[in-house]
Amino acid sequence: MANNAVKRTSLYDFANPVRFEAIAGRVFPFALFGALTLGALGLYFGLFNSPADYQQGDTVRIMYVHVPAAWMALFCYSSMAASSAAGFIWKHPLADVAAKETAPIGAGFTFLALLTGSLWGKPMWGAWWAWDARLTSVLILFFLYLGYMALWRAIPDKTRAARLAAILAIVGFVNVPIIKFSVDWWNSLHQPASIIRADGPTIHSSMLTPLFLMISAYMLAYIAMLLAAMRNEMMARRLARLEDADAVRPASVVEPGAVRT
């Protein structure tokens, strides 16, 4: 812990809350705008300007909503764990808040993946849900998110909640690969990953363009939502601190008689 003191000071220089406010304020509109435009483009290409799948028909178009969501679900959990680690090591409130605010967004993407996935599944498999490896692992990922958020909610003391939740996020992150492997082991019905493969994508390029448009749109949307949420949280905390400041007069030790002011 000794060397942390050094790192800590330097980190504060780079990311002190005040400067964050400024940066966030400037970045937010661009992120939001980019998300909307790219999303619109992606949807246009996806829905009107790309071929229907020869076996899945038009339902394949759900993929443009579904796949990026699924990826974001994984991405958000990683970044949540990363900022948790930062917050735990350097005790920096911004990192804590980033982790805290990432969780609901990531959970949202996860839910979207589950929803679109099962919407996709109905025509494909004739069932809303199938205990397929990827579906199941995403479902479990969803529970990981819920646990993290529930822990934050349950602990009134923000600093303590941050530390404990960080520990959970890190432990969970270490376990994600194990869970994914175990579930794949448990069942390998779902089609193999065909985008991330050594021999390159097998999906038609006219499907890839909208896919990647959508993915960048999701990413920007994540950034925009995160910045907004973080700013609200920081403001809420400052307000709380101000309220406390005039309400709370800490005690101190004095010899009898003397009254400390």
Binding site: P156, D157, K158, T159, R160, E243, D244, A247, V248, R249, P250, A251, S252, V253, V254, E255, P256, V259, R260
Partner: protein, 201 residues
């Protein structure tokens, strides 16, 4: 842990601040405790006595400032740290093993618990449960004691016993900080007062 020779035991706190529930409760505390010394900590309800004691005992991380302790510390709070399902002796034995020290019989006898040795702690009356909790101080054979409201619920005899225990502890070079609202007969003990209790939000 190596048992630090009691004589050298002491504690210093500088500009100490302690938070609880994310709120600074105690602030700017400077405090020195020398071997053989005792401090009686007083102050209104909610002033932060318990909070300060726990911090000094090393159970709460300070929000600011520094604490330096030479010698091992033991905290004895209002919660007796006993298991109701275990008998008095079983509770004592467990502590003796944890601290790797102390004779159960002498501690039990000193606090007048002999009649209850084989009784489950859950059947003890308020005062006798408190006595059992205090017995842990003796078992720990550590030099630095932090005791919260030790005599609440104790009858006169038991309070006298406790005062005697503190006196003996100081004779051997031990030191203690005791938070209490009641009159405590501790000759030559320094009286400290916690003031400016927070008005809650």
């Amino acid at each position: 842990m190596p048992d630090v020779a009691p004589f050298s035991a002491g504690l210093t706190a500088r500009n100490l601040a302690v938070a609880r529930g994310g709120r600074i409760i105690v602030d700017g505390v400077d405090l020195d405790l020398a071997p053989g010394e005792a401090i009686v900590l007083r102050g209104p309800n909610g002033a932060g006595k318990t909070t300060l004691l726990r911090a000094l005992a090393g159970l709460l991380a300070p929000a600011a400032g520094a604490i330096q302790a030479t010698g091992e510390r033991v905290f004895c709070g209002v919660r007796s740290a006993t298991k109701p399902a275990l008998t008095v002796d079983e509770n004592l034995r467990f502590w003796a093993r944890l601290y790797q020290s102390g004779e159960i019989e002498s501690a039990r006898n000193r606090l007048g618990l002999d009649d209850y040795a084989k009784r489950p702690a859950g059947h003890l009356s308020t005062g006798f449960l408190r006595r059992l909790g205090l017995a842990r101080l003796l078992l720990s054979s550590r030099p630095l004691w932090f005791v919260d409201e030790p005599t609440s619920g104790l009858d006169k005899d038991a309070s006298a016993i406790f005062e005697g225990i503190i006196a003996d502890h100081r004779k051997t070079g031990g030191a203690a900080i005791i938070a209490t609202h009641e009159t405590l007969n501790a000759p030559g003990a320094r009286q400290l007062e916690l003031r400016n209790a927070e008005a809650a939000a």
